[in-house]
Symmetry: D2
Subunit: 269 residues, 4 copies
């Protein structure tokens, strides 16, 4: 629990880091940012007919909101929404998890990135809640692929192992207003800004308001202890430290980002 | 419904505008931004023990969330939260609504600002829902003053009449990182940024995510048809047009702000 | 907490009892049965346009259900529903609490029954939750009288002091299919049966299913520790013991009724 | 939609009927009464550790209540609860649906009763919502068998075709305080009464209170248009008419039962 790393990738692709910044960890929910970007790159705004953009309120209400809103999840970063995004990526590409793995290898410049089979299998063993969400959305007609296939690709995506260095580099397109590492365009500037907006309002579970208040940057966290944050036009950061608060965000990671924006004044506000 | 005005106040206090930018309208919920600022100026962070900073999810859930979270409203911009903030301002100043009126007169440079008694009375006639919220919070011990007094000051604050010009000028401290029109400090830079963060995540009713996605600026709307938005370090805007969407935000006002950030590239993302 | 009394009133008006059966206690929610009967006696079925007949699910959901169902409480035995019934009795009689007191004096044959002013005042001091419910229903147009007046009469009704003897006698009309102690008709047989049905499905807070399962009799409990139960066509019982379970029902009282139906076989099932 | 049948089985096993009383229809949710009885016959009270006995409030809340109560359904007659009962019957017998079919053949005296494969298959094609419920409960550890197996047996049970005659006869043990058609004991008298209590408080979807109020008998309805009702100690009825109200209960069937209790005075109240 006392491990900590931080990496900063500037918009030219240079990455700097300290601490355990090259130690790989499980990206978990951070993968939701990349699957959303890949779907938006292929599909323009169509995904927003199937998933909303509003924060989700308390976790306690997630299921009732899904029912209340006819199977349309509130945003792409809660599990239900991420399943819809993965489902769409599967339809668009025929292999959602491999598509993401190849994208992350290219953007991070690390050809050794891989799925962690043990992690994916372990999640599958405890996947009843995600299966419940997927079947529930299917009952509203909001899934295009069979539930087991969607669940499987979702777990594989979450199981990818990356370091702070890898993630800061791979998230560079969010700071470069949509340009990939090789200078080609993944997303329109407008689209990249919009992913940042969704990260800021929905990226850190039920603590998005708290995170915006303290840190003031778009960010996406994962239960592996990683957090990716963006200073638009300047840099992408990734922090990692395994100890989580009760909402599922890295305690030391959030504190480091708070400190970072206080020192640099680089909060978006 | 075809009236429209927009005003921009730069950080030096110059205000420019077009259309009906000098026509007064009822500030309504925009007043919640000012009562929050006045409480934070006097009370540091204590208010956050009595009100949260998280978006509220669907309006449908507002009461159940209040019960679930023991009478602590999710944020200061839903009605329950604003009642708590007004209650605190009343305790701190002895006269919450007059304190706000004087502050708005000074910051806008318009000594003629006044309450609209007819509007305040009309709201009092239909105030059962706010009375319900206030009594409910009182049952959890989260009000310091008698319910009728809190409700009354809340309605007076909402009834203040201001134009786009007045509001853009009065909200200048949010773009100036806490400095008032006369150069004195109302809030620490950190505190002003944090109010901007709460505006971005919670300022436009149940459309905050949508608003961040399309406009990308901290903003607070009111059912009078006004919206105040902030470009930190640059300017404060106010748009006004009475036609509202189903969430209570000005349709033409939101479109104008969307257009503005697309043209200028001044989204915070 | 070790006090216990039980009384049985047969349909001829004879009352038998053991233990503390003549000790007065606060009737509290048991009064809801009598206010419902008095409204139905005057108003036929009109009250059912303003209050439902369905069990209310978890207490946690009570407010959200009230919102979901447009201010119409689920049944007359939850607080919101009882406030509507008292409001109607107030409209019909001009003095809801005095009307009930006189009725209870006549049916019990005890002219000394009285309000307990200290109890009523104490509830008024902590009445914020009931005030919240009343204002909330008023916001939906489901109250005919001013909130403070409805609340006051409601508290007075709850504060009446009666013994097991008094309550078993006063509830005799429920076993006599609507006939009062003097043989005159208060309710149609059909109406009396229907009050018994509402008691069985909704009369013991969130434990009505459990109570039907164990005891099998229509019953209404109060937080004063009393429970009135009905064996239709045979007798009315009242038990009293102050220790409550987590749902607000008398522990020893429920156990005594369970024992009674097991011994006699007089469950309605 | 203009078909109608009614059958009455007295406690000696004689069955009388009029109209379409010998036309088979799909038992659907009426099967939940029989699976509960079969589990209680084998398992005493253990099932109540895994399913509650309280009415469920609005259908809207069913999922949130399941979450709020840690995967324990409110009662055995909502779908979630029936899945738990079927799961337990599967564990106890190794073949839940065949066990029920054999039981129903014996009690009805009709050896031709059979599953309707087309109905079972059709439900499986649209079974996402039940799969969601089952996975959700599995995530709380409240299923003993694999989700697909539980779902399959549940659908088979619902698909059994029976007439009013068959169902009135098969439900005879509920009027005979637990004695089977051949005089042997299926359930203790206490247990049979308790199933009647659960039927009265929870047997007709979200209209149990309304049903108790109007009809005053323990009853269980199904979306096939059938309703089984019990006059304890006297007879078991079954009505059938396909037109359903918005809660899923047969309109003509409920009216017929209302008429029956008004004429006979055989309401339990």
């Amino acid at each position: 629990m006392d491990r900590f790393g931080i990496a900063v990738a500037d918009i030219n692709g240079e990455v700097y880091g300290v601490g355990d910044w090259e130690v790989p960890f499980s990206v978990q929910s951070i993968s939701k940012t990349f699957s959303l970007a890949l779907v938006m790159a292929n599909d323009n705004d169509d995904i927003w007919k199937r998933v909303g953009r509003e924060p989700s309120g308390t976790p306690f209400n997630s299921l009732v909101q899904l029912e209340w809103e006819n199977g349309v999840p509130r945003n792409p970063f809660i599990n239900a929404g991420a399943l819809v995004v993965t489902d769409r990526l599967q339809t668009l590409t025929g292999d959602a998890s491999t598509t993401m793995l190849h994208f992350l290898r290219e953007e991070s410049g690390n050809p050794d990135l891989a799925f962690d089979q043990a992690v994916a299998d372990s999640e599958a063993d405890h996947g009843d809640r995600n299966a419940a969400l997927a079947h529930f959305m299917a009952s509203f007609g909001n899934l295009e692929n069979p539930v087991p296939s969607v669940i499987e690709h979702y777990f594989w995506q979450c199981s990818i192992e990356m370091s702070c260095r890898d993630l800061a580099a791979a998230g560079g397109f969010l700071a470069r207003h949509g340009l990939r590492a090789d200078g080609s365009r993944l997303l329109e500037a407008r689209e990249a800004k919009r992913i940042n907006a969704v990260m800021l309002t929905c990226g850190t579970y039920d603590a998005a308001g708290e995170f915006a208040y303290r840190v003031g940057l778009p960010a996406k966290s994962g239960v592996g202890g990683g957090i990716v944050a963006v200073v638009p036009g300047r840099c992408t950061l990734c922090v990692w430290s395994p100890g989580l608060d009760r909402r599922g965000n890295s305690v030391a990671g959030a504190a480091a980002l708070d400190h970072f924006t206080t020192l640099t004044g680089w909060s978006v506000f």
